[in-house]
């Protein structure tokens, strides 16, 4: 295969990613899922809304997939990221990597998620149990606080 990166609104299906990265020479497959959890920074969460600068996000995701393939020496790599409204325990991101050897599969997977979080223009607004919503600033404060 060639590395794939997809940004979409459908549910992420792990089985699809696992099938995509399978190859006869691979001895290790690693699947990472980022999922919506019910609490963040001590606040009850009911769901998350993901939005993006879609053209640029797609471009960055594709670049990360290709860079990871070259850096960790495997073409068998898929990244998917959801957009839109997600409920609890739905996967917002999935990264599948297959490699002849497990060490590089772990390293590639970890590198991809860190790069994705560092540079892909995607934003999320958490919906809280108290009915409020806030854009999340992963540097440790809510967007509302940043701008005060």
């Amino acid at each position: 295969m060639t590395p794939l990166a997809r940004l979409h609104r459908d549910l992420i299906d792990p089985a699809v990613l696992l099938r995509a990265v399978a190859g006869p020479g691979n001895g290790a497959v690693l699947l990472f899922l980022g999922v919506v959890r019910d609490i963040n920074d001590g606040r009850g969460v009911t769901g998350i809304e993901y939005t993006s600068y879609e053209a640029m996000a797609q471009r960055e995701l594709t670049a990360i997939a290709n860079e990871a393939a070259a850096r960790f020496d495997t073409p068998d790599l898929v990244i998917e990221h959801r957009l839109g409204e997600l409920g609890l325990q739905e996967a917002s991101v999935a990264i599948a990597v297959a490699h002849p050897h497990r060490g590089q599969a772990y390293e590639a997977s970890r590198w991809v998620i860190e790069e994705l979080k560092r540079r892909v223009p995607i934003w999320k607004r958490e919906h809280y149990t108290d009915g409020t919503r806030e854009w999340v600033d992963p540097r440790g404060h809510s967007a509302a606080e940043v701008t005060r």
């Binding site: 600068y53 471009r59 223009p121 934003w123 600033d137 992963p138």
Partner: protein, 81 residues
Amino acid sequence: MMSVTVLLFASYADALGASSISIDLPVGATVADVMRDLRRRPGADRLPPAPLLAVNERYAPVTCRLVEGDEVAVIPPVAGG
């Protein structure tokens, strides 16, 4: 004069009350000129001093020179994953 499109997202779009703004600038203007224009608008006090910026879907410094039709994006702290 030339015209560029400014894209705003997430909390920045909320702050300025728009997700896309067309701005007219003198030929040879840079991203810094776009930011100066933006900062005069209502709600711009809620932008940080040095936000991330992109020109035509690529991260770019504030010194980047623009041409007619360029797309400048002001990028809030990314929160993918």
